[in-house]
């Protein structure tokens, strides 16, 4: 008798669970919960599962991780999503070089749990640790240290890429360099990253030597950026609601890993979960304006110094799981641009004025300078200049027309938008932002696509509507 050793947890799953009809919402949503597309979700638990799971299937597919990108870059309407989060094993770690080799579905949170007690930290980290290694490469994500570290792909010496035809490629700067460049920032479209190497950086403490400084307006922000260029991590929160004397006020936050040795214990599990979908009126000009005023004055002084744990410094909003429900059932969209220095200041001021004028409330607004370390991906988002990001609640008839205007303004100022955060850019905008897109298209796996890719390469110029 020869039988497979099945997963015991599946053995204990009541079969009723599988039989219940799938009601809305769809099984897999992006972080913005917009758009909502039905798709089949197939887990990839082992490196050998791909491409076997596609055998005999005519459907297009897309590898996805934890669904923390905001729009449709991690969605595929009526297709098959290959969820990699079960593929989360470590393969090797060399404490001499700090190079970690792991399967691509491991999350940055899981990497930190392993690395921090050993005195290592991520070389680049986004504002949430709940993203996968594969997703971090596929979106060539960036962090608060872009000026000194570049983007995530700069710290990935090599990875394995498996195509739907079963071919495997080891990709690095010297081996299959074109595939390497296409896959970093390649939005999961070039094949499945089965495993990757990541160069971790040493730390001696969980602590961050932190400084928070209030600023008023973009000029003060730029002065602070200049003054703190010796600090590794810098980011600013900016008030996008206030006008007049409070226009573009914000808090400039700077931090370095503490050099005083401290206890390197792993982080506790977050306890808070946002409990329900907030009603549509929760976020309005008044509530956001009140929040922004409180946030601006929270630190009490115009300038504070403190030692913070890395968790609240890097991942303040990870403390509340599923916070996206604050934006209600309709969801949220993010708008994120990078405008080169030449037009960065005037572009930022003009766009901030347009947003304040629109009255579309948003409190998670982030302003930061990108440095000039070039990204390695042909489709990477970061470029030297000013990066700005904020969330909008979805208001029918208001949000998307505003996003069109903001997208066009970004284009006029020579900037680009970030696919991982986008649900609204037009095909024309995308193709101007990313002039390499046609060269990139040649590296796409014929079985793989995404709703984002279909949208921005659609020659009919179809636009999202709501």
């Amino acid at each position: 008798m020869s039988l497979s050793t099945a997963e015991p947890e599946a053995l204990n799953t009541p079969p009723e669970a599988a039989r219940e009809p799938d009601r809305a919402p769809p099984a897999f949503q992006s972080w913005g919960r917009y758009p909502k597309y039905g798709a089949k979700v197939v887990p990839l638990n082992w490196q050998g599962d791909f491409p076997a799971v596609l055998a005999g299937s005519q459907d297009s597919a897309l590898p996805v991780g934890l669904g923390r990108s905001y729009g449709d870059v991690c969605l595929l309407k009526d297709g098959t999503l290959l969820q990699t989060t079960g593929m989360n094993r470590l393969i090797d770690f060399d404490p001499q070089t700090g190079i970690l080799t792991a399967e691509s579905g491991i999350s940055l949170a899981q990497i930190l749990d392993f690395a921090v007690p050993r005195g290592f930290f991520l070389p680049v980290t986004p504002g949430t640790k709940y993203v996968t290694l594969g997703g971090a490469i596929a979106n060539d994500i960036h962090g608060k240290n872009h000026e000194v570290a570049g983007s995530f792909g700069n710290h990935v010496p090599c990875f394995e890429l498996v195509r739907s035809d079963g071919s495997r490629r080891l990709c690095s700067r010297t081996e299959n360099p074109d595939w390497y460049a296409a896959t970093i920032g390649g939005m999961g479209l070039t094949g499945l990253i089965t495993w990757a190497q990541l160069r971790l950086r040493p730390i001696v403490s969980r602590g961050i030597d932190y400084e928070g400084i209030q600023f008023h307006g973009i000029d003060e922000f730029l002065d602070l950026k200049q003054k703190y260029q010796h600090v590794e991590y810098t980011v600013s929160w900016v008030d996008c609601v206030s006008t007049g004397k409070n226009f573009a006020r914000g808090i400039f936050m700077a931090g370095d890993h503490s050099k005083v040795p401290g206890e390197l214990k792993p982080s506790p599990e977050p306890k808070l979960v946002f409990p329900f979908d907030a009603p549509a009126f929760t976020l309005n000009r008044l509530s956001v304006s009140a929040f922004n005023t409180v946030f601006f004055h929270k630190q009490g002084n115009a300038h504070v110094k403190a030692v913070h744990d890395y968790e609240p410094f890097f991942y303040p909003i990870d403390a509340v799981l599923r916070w996206n429900r604050l934006y209600g059932k309709r969801g949220l969209v993010q708008f994120q641009y990078a405008i080169p220095w030449e037009h960065a200041k005037e572009g930022t001021i003009a766009i901030l004025r347009e947003i304040a004028k629109s009255g579309l409330a948003s409190f998670l607004a982030v302003l930061k300078a990108f440095g000039d370390i070039p990204s390695l991906g042909m489709m990477s988002f970061p470029q030297a200049g000013i990066m700005f990001a904020l969330d909008f609640p979805i208001k029918p008839g208001i949000t998307f027309p505003l996003l069109q205007r903001l997208g066009d303004m970004t284009l006029d100022y020579g900037g680009r938008l970030y696919p991982a955060k986008d649900a609204a850019m037009t095909a024309a905008q995308f193709q101007t932002f990313y002039p390499e897109w046609q060269r990139f298209a040649r590296f796409r796996d014929p079985m793989l696509t995404s709703s984002f890719w279909e949208r921005v390469t659609d020659s009919t110029g179809a636009k999202p509507t709501l």
Partner: protein
């Protein structure tokens, strides 16, 4: 099945210059989700492990992960545990590699296809073989090994489904009921010899595999389940419902009179 010979004493494979005492754990069905999550905790504690599973690629991936996480030693053997004729040789090889054994963790079993098993006795017999007959073969050898030494712990994954037969999975359930009854009897026999028998009864557990199932967000987290199992082993418990809510739930289910129970859709 012959009684295992006393193993030659020697230096433990994981022990280097520092004479660190770590647990020696034999894991049967090591590539299952719960087993893997449990092994990760042991690896971080520096345990020595020997892993047995059927698929060589999966086994190699799990072994590399556990070594990287800090396991002092990871040995592996590829085997189909349904093949009871090979058990004695396999177990003796594993324990030789580990140079001893403190814990045997049996996470081997199959769900089977219930509707098929209702019609096809061959398939029903397969379920009973993998979930009951093969584990009894393994445990017979392991129990006698432990009794000889008056030490050791046998941790075995059964299921809440074995507490009462339900129409949705009574073949799987009855195989686990048999296993649970076997373990109760084994405990009664060998606990006095200094050998602990732990019966683990998990409820539904959330893994990548069950992620897309309706209601799966309410399933138990596999890492929390694993942490509870590690604690129960350290505490030398006899029985474990995990998560613990399943103990009162199954108490109620066991005590519903059949004149009502037979009409329920469970």
């Amino acid at each position: 099945m012959s009684t295992p010979a006393i193993l030659p004493s020697g230096t433990s494979p994981g022990s280097d210059s520092t004479a660190k005492i770590t647990k020696k754990i034999l894991v049967l069905g090591a590539t299952s989700g719960i087993a893997e999550a449990t092994c990760r905790i042991w690896a971080a504690q520096g345990a020595q492990m020997f892993l047995i599973a059927r698929n060589p690629e999966k086994l190699a991936a799990v072994a590399a992960d556990l070594k990287t996480r800090g396991a002092a030693y990871v040995g592996t053997a590829v085997a189909d545990l349904d093949d009871t004729d090979k058990h004695a040789e396999l177990l003796s090889h594993a324990i030789n590699s580990l140079t001893g054994m403190d814990v045997a963790y049996l996470a081997y079993g199959i769900l089977g296809d219930e509707p098929r098993a209702e019609q096809d006795f061959e398939h029903a017999a397969q379920i009973l073989h993998s979930n009951f007959v093969a584990p009894v073969s393994l445990l017979t050898w392991l129990a006698n090994f432990c009794v000889q030494r008056h030490a050791g712990l046998l941790a075995v994954i059964s299921s809440v489904a074995g507490d009462r037969g339900r129409k949705s999975n009574y073949l799987y359930g009855s195989s686990k009921a048999g296993l649970t009854a076997y373990l109760a009897g084994l405990r009664n026999r060998i606990d006095r010899e200094g050998v602990t028998v732990l019966t683990i009864k998990p409820g539904p557990v959330k893994t990548a595999m069950t992620a897309s199932m309706k209601g799966s967000e309410k399933f138990a987290d596999v890492n929390k389940v694993a942490a509870t199992i590690v604690k129960a082993i350290d505490a030398k418990k006899d029985n474990l419902y995990v998560p613990f809510q399943w103990q009162p739930i199954m108490f109620i289910i066991r005590n519903i009179p059949d004149r009502i129970f037979k009409k329920l859709n469970l």
